[in-house]
């Protein structure tokens, strides 16, 4: 089909990059924002603007909070057809209670799962998620959308298209294409080292767009490869190649039995009721043991399996604040007696590689410089893809104009939507978050509508203004959406001030960086967008002066 390997790679790079580039933009951009997901949560939910808290006392805070949890009624209804006999009034066959926290979490997310009597598939469980204030256990309303960790983060790996995990599959395929685009891009260019130092902004649009595409691609090449690859690795065994749940289910079962034998408890429930010893004492014992190993630390993950059953046990994991791994050093206790069952042996070499790859992608450890480098790496990926679109359009614009093709007009409008439109959508949800009434029922849904609505408007606007592209001229929507970004970003920062009183002078003076940082970022975005809009405007005026026919001039 192709005459040479390089030609095949160029074809693959162009067309797969074009089609999946739109998805990759979202993965990179919202991934870059997810680096500060918990900080964005603080901005979006003013009631949670306080300092991060350690894992609270189980007996005083967690136990009452867990006991309040029940599966949501709609989930119970949804499962009813797959259960023989009636659903219980209250679910008490607890599969697990767990809580996870990091050095950046003021509020605590708690999780519970229940086995359902009569379930046709005994592995199908009901579960619930709650959020509490760890200082006193007060439940926080869970319909407040955590815009960072509850929206931008899942958007980054699954586009929030939950039906059959479709979004996760689309993003996964795009990640494979990202890897292929990196390899094929390197094959196409060859003069890799020179690209590092080449950017000619003054040259023709075509050349400078390509320079920037190559520069951002090559400078951050290891970053792009690492994140696309580890993103796939993290989800591989769960979604993309779920062998342990399908073809190799028996091997997985066998492994679970080995694990149970190592723990010294039978696998699964016994059916014999049993009490729960003091969990705080177990946590204290775990911390003493970590200290004895010379690695004193906080609890990151606490899990109680089969609560109320004689086979129940409690696992305490050390927070990975100073480690790449999310958590580690697990110590397990028998739930009814509090007796030590097992200390996890040191991780195997393969497990350490796995911890390193996933831990470095998710970055729950403390390293603020690296955190910022991730943001810039992610944005560089977004710039690389965006300049790819621009190059595609610029290269074909005149030729398409000659033959009357609408191809690049459509691509350009979609590029406007994915570049400036995506930023507008992210700002739209932040503005809606500050404008919607506090007590509005289903507030989180309205915030999501604001996000998708803003994005849809950006698409309509980009398409409506795209006619000049078919004549070989730029789309004025680029410039206009830049100005819209400047206005919305400024509005979000000002609205935060008006609705919460937390203006920059106050948050900076108090050193409350989660909110100060986002406000500063919003102002920076406003300034950059205004500068870009201004520049594009001057360029359009210059083009109109030297007598471009119709096009820009007609719209000015």
């Amino acid at each position: 089909m192709f005459h040479s390997f390089r030609q095949a790679m160029a074809w693959l790079h162009t067309w797969f990059g074009l089609v999946l580039g739109f998805v990759l933009m979202a993965a990179f951009f919202f991934g870059a924002l997810s680096v500060f997901d918990r900080e964005i949560d603080r901005w979006a939910i003013p009631a949670t603007r306080f300092e991060p808290q350690p894992m609270p006392s189980f007996e005083k805070v967690l136990r009452p909070a867990f006991e309040r949890l029940q599966p949501p009624p709609e989930m119970v209804e949804a499962m009813r057809p797959r259960v023989d006999g009636p659903m219980p009034e209250r679910f008490d066959r607890i599969a697990y209670w767990s809580a996870y926290t990091t050095h950046r979490d003021p509020v605590l997310a708690i999780y519970a799962g229940w086995e359902v009597p009569g379930a046709r598939n005994p592995d199908e469980q009901l579960y619930a998620v709650g959020t509490i204030d760890p200082r006193d256990g007060t439940p926080l309303p869970d319909d407040r959308l955590k815009i960072g960790s509850g929206f931008f983060f899942p958007l980054h790996y699954g586009l929030t298209l939950d039906w059959k995990n479709l979004g996760i599959w689309i993003v996964g395929f795009s990640a494979l294409v990202m890897l292929a685009a990196l390899v094929s891009g390197v094959v196409m260019h060859r003069k890799l080292f020179r690209e590092l130092f080449t950017f000619r902004p003054g040259k023709a649009r075509l050349r400078s767009a390509l320079d920037l595409h190559n520069l951002t691609g090559v400078v951050a090449l290891p970053f792009h490869f690492f994140f696309a690859f580890t993103g796939l690795v993290i989800f591989s065994a769960t979604y993309y190649f779920p062998l342990g749940h399908t073809q190799l289910h028996e091997l997985h079962e066998l492994h679970e039995q080995h694990e149970a034998a190592a723990l010294g408890l039978p696998h699964g429930r016994s059916g014999v009721p049993a009490g729960l010893a003091n969990v705080d004492a177990m946590v204290g014992e775990a911390q003493r043991r970590w200290e004895a190993r010379g690695m004193a630390g906080d609890v990151g993950f606490l899990v109680l399996q089969h609560v109320g059953d004689a086979n129940g046990y409690v696992s305490v994991y050390r927070a990975g604040t100073d480690r790449i791994a999310l958590v580690g050093q697990g110590i397990h206790f028998k739930a009814d007696t509090g007796a030590l069952l097992r200390e996890d042996p040191p991780a195997t070499p393969v497990a350490r590689v796995a911890e390193f790859l996933t831990g470095l992608h998710l970055q729950h450890f403390r390293h603020w410089l690296l955190r910022w480098l991730y943001v810039f790496g992610g944005l560089m990926g977004a710039v690389c893809i965006a300049t790819g679109f621009v190059f595609f359009v610029e290269k074909r614009k005149r030729q398409h104009a000659r033959v009357g093709s609408q191809g690049v007009r459509i691509v350009d409008a979609l590029a406007v939507t994915t570049v400036t439109g995506m930023v507008l959508a992210a700002l739209g949800i932040l503005v809606a978050n500050r404008l919607l009434p506090e007590a509005l029922p289903g507030r989180g849904d309205w915030e999501r509508f604001a996000f998708w609505g803003t994005w849809a408007l950006a698409l309509v606007h980009a398409g409506w203004r795209s006619a000049p592209v078919a004549r070989g001229l730029p789309n004025p929507a680029w410039r206009e959406q830049c100005w819209a970004i400047a206005v919305l970003a400024l509005a979000a920062a000002v609205l935060n001030w008006i609705t919460t009183g937390d203006h920059l002078l106050r948050t900076l003076a108090a050193g409350y960086w989660p909110v100060a940082g986002l406000d500063l970022a919003l102002l920076a975005v406003a300034a950059i967008a205004a500068a870009a809009g201004h520049r594009l405007g001057r360029r359009a005026e210059a083009a109109a002066r030297i007598g471009a026919h119709g096009g820009e001039a007609a719209h000015a």
């Binding site: 095949a8 494979l176 690795v233 393969v350």
Partner: protein, 103 residues
Amino acid sequence: MSATPVPASHPRLRIAARTGAAVLGGYAFTWGFIAACTALAVKLGMDFHDAEFLASALGLLLFLAVFLGTVASRRGALLLWGVLLGGGALLAAAGSLLQASIA
């Protein structure tokens, strides 16, 4: 299996056949590779989740190589489909046989 050349007058069909082989054939082949590798590593005494992780990571890199190679290959698309699906099925069968010999 012999590669039936698709007439040059159907360039879109040719592209669809080839990219289909690269994506779907590549997936099937990778599935088989991960199944065989995981089962083999467990057979050789590795922990299940270690084996699963190692095989997945290698499998994803293999998928990338197969994907690129299939797009660039000078062989006919039909042959590539056959090799990838057949190879994937053989590897998956090897994985199941290894599992049966352990569990």
